[in-house]
């Protein structure tokens, strides 16, 4: 692999984001700002219990409250649903997919489960009225622990007959032989704690009946307007062509808005039922109970190696807490990590078992990284632990086992084909930036002097699979959708350009990056391109934004549509210049005849010419517009080397990151500043898991971290300076060589930080610190180790 040539034109250059002026001056259109005159404000009555039979719901008092227009129970609305809320990944043939109705009818299964819905004329009136709905519950035992749940003593879904939603087991290579042959087997249990996504903008939805179409216009704070439209058409029985879904400015998602939620179905059904607009915005505490959570895996790993540090294989036994219901991709989230346990390492065999478990907690689903952070954490942690066991430097162990750059494309043991990569280049760059040897020397010094503040060094040489694309592969995994993406390009008569994309940005800056792609391809000015998105009536086809897919698939579609425009324009140019099409050359927006430099037409000239349509080739339509649907042949595999130096105060348990270096290889870069922003945000979110965040339930199933008072989302003041850099090894699965960057930082950083914390404490006998590595967890790990117990 070689680095790409210095890019020309707009690609590869930092352009200030077109989106930012309105965002930073408070002129964005959030769903909650959408004016819907006469709208009814909706609020759900939510269960205060984790698990209980609903024995009675008395709505009579609530109906009498000032401003209240209607109150419905779950049973009242059963005839509004054609089917239950969707789960789109049938991970095994016998996966249990119990129904998930927008409001509970028989029993509640987590704190925050909706039981009834109140509609009133103002937000204040509805907030007052919900307390007057009287629900009688017969409490049942909460099941908050996965291993308890697997005993099936208390069933979350009685009809399913078990809390085991699915079991997926798979191995390849001669696993037993490999483990028999191994000189060293390291066994570890890692707890990948439950997290809450915490997008800045809460979820919100506004549904307005549209008298023109006889249908409905839905604004929703969603990542997936296209998928939402299809799914709600199915759930609510609204004809798809009568439902327009708009994702206006959306303030972050991280996977939490990659879903089809009860409140969206309720708002649509109730707007239909009452013939009035319906509006709903969650409060933060409500969202913490009713918007999906992430992670929550127990990971039992064994890794087998030779005494000289050759990794032979691993066994991974993963239990994934799915929560109470299957949301859109609840079942599949662990599967997205299933292939990634080998990471960048060559080995002979692997064994994997994933058990999806129902509990009486908020459903989990895709949260930034979705499966890959879990896999990456486990493998990068156990490689460090293996190095410690072998007495090897952890980077030396990695070098000994990783795929070298000459070996690409490389089929890993789980069957994926890594198309490209250069782990040596990224690592060499990162090691030089980090000052690895000096930090190791300081570490030795602190250990020798018994400094209460110890220094640890953590490594994460990660890779991930992203750019959810190959539709055939997704189909083979029983994922009930494709992974293509659509774009169209409109050449306007006055020479400017509209790009329509099926991706749905919610902070990523697609308007800017797609403008750069189109400007570069068409040879027009960056400011002459606008990008339309997030409205199913404007962008009629799309698979939306998640899984670091937008650039790899959606950006590729823009590029591809532009190539079709150029092909059409070339024919028009040949016609007007009276030259053979083969003699037409295109560069920087101008078509010229080879050998006759004065005979030329700009792409703007041609756009106007086909608009006038006075003179164009007989065998084509008078239009340069084009659309493209692309479906890349493979996932993409960003990688990189992240290095963390952490100071751990052994007296207080405080961890302070002193140095954080990341060198990411996300392939070809469109806008360096946007890429850097994604890396910074990703690092913050991954470090947040390592140091700060955890959703905690008590044994009764109450969410103890029910607000931002107890759920510690770090601010800029809590995070270190990030030293970031890149290498560029182009992907081969798309013509632009791009790989995707939305999740890389999150996937990579968590194990780098925890490895650093554990590395600092190894001389004290500590082998693991449960995440988050908070002062309490660090101190307790030290106490356990120094008191002779296991950490």
């Amino acid at each position: 692999m070689t680095a790409v040539d210095t890019p020309t034109g707009s690609i590869g250059v930092t352009k200030l984001r077109k989106e930012d002026a309105r965002l930073v001056t408070g002129r964005a259109t959030w769903t909650d700002n959408v004016a819907a005159p006469g709208a009814l404000h909706m609020k759900l009555v939510r269960s205060p219990m984790a698990h209980a039979k609903i024995t009675a719901v008395d709505v009579s008092a609530a109906r009498e409250r000032p401003g209240v227009v209607a109150v419905y129970t779950g049973a009242d609305l059963m005839d509004a649903w054609k089917t239950s809320l969707p789960s789109v990944w049938q991970v095994t043939a016998d996966v249990k997919e119990p129904p998930h109705w927008p409001l509970a009818t028989d029993k509640v299964r987590h704190v925050g489960d909706g039981v009834a819905v109140v509609l009133a004329t103002s937000a204040g009136a509805v907030a007052d009225a919900v307390d007057f709905v009287d629900v009688s519950y017969e409490p049942l035992t909460a099941v908050t622990d996965m291993e308890e749940a697997l005993k099936d003593e208390v069933l979350v879904h009685d009809d399913a007959g078990t809390n085991r939603c699915y079991e997926y087991a798979w191995d390849s290579g001669n696993l037993d032989e490999v483990f028999d042959r191994a000189d060293v087997v390291v066994t570890r249990r890692y707890i990948n704690q439950r997290l809450i996504p915490t997008a800045i903008e809460p979820r919100a939805v506004v549904v307005q009946p549209d008298p023109t179409s006889g249908g409905y216009v839905m604004h929703s704070a969603t990542q997936i307007p296209h998928i939402l439209r299809i799914q709600l058409a199915i759930v609510c029985g609204v004809p798809e062509h009568k439902l327009r879904v708009i994702a206006p400015d959306v303030g972050g998602g991280f996977g939490s808005k990659l879903n089809v939620y009860a409140e969206e179905a309720l708002a649509l059904a109730l707007a239909a039922k009452l013939g009035k607009p319906v509006t709903w915005t969650e409060t933060r505490s409500e969202g913490y109970q009713a918007t999906i959570h992430g992670r929550d895996h127990i990971q039992d790993l064994q890794i087998a190696a030779t005494s000289d540090g050759r990794i032979l294989g691993y066994k991974a036994d993963i239990k994934a807490d799915l929560g109470a219901y299957l949301q859109l991709v609840t079942t599949g989230t662990p599967m997205l990590g299933a292939f990634m346990y080998p990471a960048i390492y060559k080995m002979e065999a692997h064994g994997l078992k994933i058990t999806g478990v129902f509990t009486t907690k908020t459903p989990t689903d895709a949260y930034r990284g979705a499966g890959r952070p879990e896999a990456t954490f486990a493998i990068e942690r156990i490689v460090d632990d293996l190095a410690a066991e072998l007495g090897m430097d952890p980077m030396e162990l990695r070098r000994k086992n990783w795929i070298t750059h000459e070996e690409f494309p490389y089929d890993i043991i789980t069957g994926l084909t890594y198309d490209s990569g250069n782990y040596e280049a990224a690592t060499d760059k990162a090691m030089a930036m980090f000052g690895y040897d000096d930090l190791r020397a300081e570490q030795q010094q602190r250990r020798a002097s018994g400094d209460p503040v110890q220094l640890g060094i953590g490594i994460s040489t990660f890779t991930e699979m992203c750019g959810l694309a190959p539709s055939r592969v997704l189909g083979s995994l029983s994922y009930r959708a494709g992974g293509w993406e659509q774009a169209s390009v409109r050449m306007l008569p006055t020479g400017t350009v509209q790009v329509i994309t099926g991706t749905s940005p919610h902070g990523q800056g697609h308007v800017t990056s797609w403008s750069q792609i189109a400007a570069d391809a068409l040879g027009v000015d960056f400011d002459d391109v606008d990008v339309l998105h997030g409205d199913t009536s404007i962008s009629h086809r799309g698979m939306d934004t998640y899984g670091s897919r937008s650039l790899v698939v959606g950006g590729y579609a823009v590029h591809s549509a532009c190539q079709k425009v150029i092909a059409k324009a070339k024919r028009v140019a040949a016609h007007l210049l009276e030259a053979a099409e083969d003699d037409i050359e295109f560069a920087n927006g101008t078509f010229s005849v080879a050998g006759s430099p004065d005979a030329k037409k700009t792409i703007q000239d041609l756009a106007l010419a086909v608009f006038a349509a006075h003179d164009y080739p007989q065998d084509m339509e008078p239009s340069l517009d084009a659309e493209a649907t692309v479906d890349p042949e493979n996932f993409s595999f960003p990688h990189g080397t992240h290095l963390c130096a952490a100071e751990v105060d052994t007296e207080t348990g405080r961890v302070i990151i002193r140095t954080y270096v990341s060198v990411d290889d996300v392939g070809r870069v469109i806008n360096p500043q946007i890429v850097e922003g994604q890396v910074h945000g990703g690092l913050a979110q991954g470090i947040a898991q390592a140091l700060y965040e955890e959703a905690v339930y008590d044994t009764e199933g109450n969410l103890s971290t029910g607000s931002l008072l107890d759920y510690y989302v770090p601010s800029a003041a809590d995070l270190p300076h990030f030293e970031t850099d890149r290498t560029e090894t182009p992907a081969t699965s798309n013509p632009m060589g791009v790989k995707g960057v939305g999740e890389a930082g999150t996937i990579a950083s968590t194990p780098a930080v925890v490895n650093a914390v554990v590395d600092a404490l190894r001389p004290l006998g500590v082998k693991d610190v449960r995440m988050p590595t908070s002062p309490r967890n660090v101190w307790e790990a030290i106490q356990a180790a120094t008191n002779g117990g296991a950490a």
Binding site: S704, Y712, S715, S774, P775, R776
Partner: protein, 283 residues
Amino acid sequence: MIPATFDYIRAGSVDEAIAALTEHGDEAKLLAGGHSLLPLMKLRLASPEVLVDLGRVDALRGVCELDDGRLSIGAMTSHQDVIDNDLVRQHCGVLADVTRKVGDAQVRHRGTIGGAMAHGDAASDLPAALLALDGTVMVQGPSGRREITAADLFVDYLSTSVNDDEVITEVRVPKLDGNWGWNYQKFGRVAQAWAIVGSLGLVKRANGSIEEARVGLTHMGTIPLRATAVEQALAGTSTDGIADAAEHAAEGTSPPTDLSATSEFREHLARVLTKRALQAAAG
């Protein structure tokens, strides 16, 4: 996040506020900076029927020197104005330094010193500081004015000895001479949050030894506390004794267990943080 319905009275003076409190009794709450009360109301954990807003009572803002040599800080003085006040910085810098660690910039610009004392949260920074300074509050009610020492002010979890019909009008703190040093060790999960444990060390040095030491503890019980055993162990000793004395920091405390810390970990932190605070204060 919409509070239950309430009536709102804007007090033009302390007397008007007292009259409103007298009329509405325990249905009324005073509104100062609103950074504790309003979130509680929005979460519907508090739903007073009447709010009496002190925001326009300008007489309650500002800092002056009292005849007895102490500083008087108007109860409605914002945290930021305390931090920026020249008299405070010159004569009681410890109060400015502790206040600098309260909340975030928004809280410091809206929240008030009187409000922090009235809320009486053992987890917030200023009550422990007032206690360590042997400060007082002046309160005014229907039967006149009275002064309450910090030791008498904080009586239980979020509860003070200020009566329902009384208004805190001033916070009074001593001037500290140049022999005093101080350090506040605020230990939290994130930069802008309540302390898991905080320890404020104040040390008066004379002739190379410790003449007097005081320690205020944050979040080590239902009320702010003094580590009196540490103070007694250090009086008249050299700074070499700090580490040993700090081992007594958790004596007489009954710290809570929550997600951030067990009571055992809090006791441990109190010892470590008190050692560090006193060493820095003495250094």
